[in-house]
Symmetry: C2
Subunit: 417 residues, 2 copies
């Protein structure tokens, strides 16, 4: 891919970036280790796209994975009883009530789990997908069932309850007696919305009253940047048929280790959910070891809300501080330098994703920017043409370089207006 | 689970087993590393079930995986260009013609790949499954489509071409204009049949003449124990719509590393196949590193037929020798000690699986034997009630202990007749 009018990042500058607690992989090292984020495109591009952070995983995770890998035993694995208990203990603390080990279904990732959920509706049922949303939601709904979008707006604002009711009613009518599944994302990707307790209650209530299955993807719950409490769907006082899915993948930067899990309390729903899972790959040994190290180190889990401790928790807090600073820097920079060409659409109170309105750059702003040296995820696959998603889980040096390129691209666009 | 009348294996005896080239993981070590094979059931059971070997992976694989794991970079990965080229070079040598890098689709395992293939038929089409067969074939067919069985017999013998034609005709009629997929397994699991060239030609010809899609699972091609040449479907002179799927998982004992791939030459079929793949987990970084080490070390690949070299190839040859000796020992022992209660059904000219006729032990011989200290896979899920599959990829000490328990179980059954 040709680069037009961009300054090339100096490798030294990127490589030197680090903080006391967090260590950043160098671009060369990431490419050496087959990184999709850094390796898929021209190496002069600054990659601020796929939701994969640039930090090395926490030290206890690295040690556990390296130790397990050295042993040379790479056969089929089952999560150990102690790991399942640790997961349930963490979920239980987060939910404020006991979580049985029999409710857990392991997955090799969040995407297979989302497909599982969507398939519960079946081809004649209906899946409701709140948009904008990260692409696997729409893919799973379209591949498995009939799909109806719930328009959240682009601003990461409060839930429109009357629109929720109207959309669910429409889905129930479309399903015509078959199942309806609402795929929910809390915190929401890409807007970063941490759904408030009253909003989560409304979602559960409206689903329950229509017998709609609620699938709550809570993979971002460990990365909340502002003072907004996270409300797991499992903590609600409700009789909604609920599937909670999560993973350590985003919080601890281990998305390639292929481990996620679902928790399903309802017996009948769980049997259907489990039965639909014969198509999947195995969770990986390294991923299970990583999860055990995280739970062991912090005494909790990716969703735990009890007072945390340990090395992984210190790492997570350092990461949250870093992400907050990166977000604030990106927001200030874009507001100052990019005017209305690339506007911050939503406040990113969680995640490491900034949702940007770039409609003035044309229908494919992702492509426009990539041709000018910075790769963001285009909004089209999120159901939001003209928007882009910026991943700020990187060193400040990489972020700054990426922002400069966005600024230059805006200057070029402005001069052509 | 209670054990009835069995001698317990001494741990020391099991732990000491090793050969010059192969290293056997101790049961304790396998359990420590979350092994499903060793950990799922009572620890006094000898586990000769799931198709997962007890040997440590070859040294170059262990070094590559350990080195990659140490780096602490566990994000999303793409196979490197050099890895894709090495895979295609190996497949090309095996097929005797060039294989384009654009034909390759990566999977996190063989099972997701089988589901991909079966879904091409769709719910109104038909999938033909040769039985007995390892359970994911039947699962994929039943979950995705209408399923018709092609009875191979239990003896791992020659293909009945007239039954093949009859079954394919029935499938085409059932599909009524929709697609038909034949899921094929070469070499065959569980009988170990290495399909001869004339049989593979017949399969391809009969599929091609009915426009049936042929999906050839060739994951066992690296473990052929007798002097029988392996014929990859891709090496045939045919215009059948073909999907070849394979993995290093069985040959090099890395099934938990979550990497497999398909090669699809036909453009239209490949587009459909690729499009159906959005539901999957990521191939793992460790698995890609392992595959690169295998290809680099032997200059070939799991399917390569060219003269091999290097450390992984020496390991594979030692493994084949060990498996042949284990197979021969098991066959002699069973014929000598078990009479007609547990009979060798098929000759296992490949794989590390011995297909046994245990119908005289009742309808659930797997359960009967497991209650007597040795766990084999029951044939019911293979479409063959009364049969069991014995996995002999273990140290000779473990195998001997398992065989003794089978003998004792037979003696008990005989005394109750």
């Amino acid at each position: 891919m040709a680069l037009v009018g961009v300054r090339h990042a100096t490798r030294t500058r990127l490589r030197a970036a680090s903080t006391a607690a967090l260590e950043w992989a160098s671009p060369d090292n990431r490419r050496k280790h087959a990184s999709r984020k850094w390796g898929r495109f021209d190496e002069n591009l600054i990659p601020l796209w796929v939701a994969d952070g640039d930090a090395l995983a926490p030290a206890p995770v690295r040690e556990a994975v390296a130790e397990a890998s050295k042993a040379g035993i790479y056969g089929y694995v089952d999560p150990s009883a102690s790991l399942v208990e640790a997961v349930c203990a963490g979920m239980g603390r987060s939910w404020g009530r006991p979580v049985s080990t029999s409710w857990v279904r392991w997955h090799p990732g969040l995407i297979p789990a989302l497909y599982h959920c969507a398939r519960l509706a079946g081809p004649k049922g209906c899946v409701v997908v709140p948009t904008p949303v990260y692409p696997p939601f729409l893919n799973a709904a379209e591949d498995a069932s009939q799909c109806i979008e719930l328009d959240l707006g682009q601003r990461g604002g409060a839930l429109d309850e009357s629109l929720l009711r109207e959309t669910l009613d429409k889905a129930v009518a479309t399903a015509n007696g078959e199942d309806v599944v609402l795929l929910w994302c809390n915190p929401h990707n890409p807007t970063g919305r941490v759904w408030r307790r009253n909003e989560m209650e409304a979602v559960a209530r409206e689903c329950a009253s229509r017998n709609v299955i609620l699938a709550s993807d809570e993979v971002w719950s460990g990365l909340i940047l502002d003072e907004v409490p996270f409300t797991p769907a499992g903590s609600l006082d409700t009789d909604v048929r609920l599937i909670s899915i999560t993973s350590a993948s985003k919080t601890y930067n281990v998305a390639g280790l292929d481990v996620a899990f679902a928790v399903v309390e309802d017996d009948g729903l769980r049997r259907r959910y489990f039965r639909a899972g014969r198509d999947q790959a195995e969770p990986s040994h390294a991923g299970l070891e990583a999860l055990a190290a995280i739970l062991d180190a912090e005494g909790g889990g990716p969703c735990v809300l009890t007072p945390p401790r340990g090395a992984c928790e210190a790492w997570r807090r350092a990461m949250v501080d870093h992400l907050r600073a990166n977000r604030d820097a990106a927001v200030s920079f874009l507001e100052r330098e990019c005017g209305d060409l690339v506007k911050v659409a939503a406040p990113a109170e969680s995640t490491y994703l900034l949702w940007l309105d770039a409609r003035k750059l044309g229908a494919s702003p992702g492509l426009f920017l990539s041709q000018r040296g910075v790769y963001l995820t285009d909004g089209a696959a999120f159901g939001a043409r003209g928007f882009v998603r910026l991943n700020f889980c990187c060193s400040r040096a990489v972020l700054d370089e990426g922002l400069e390129r966005i600024k230059d691209a805006c200057a070029e666009a402005r001069s052509n207006l």
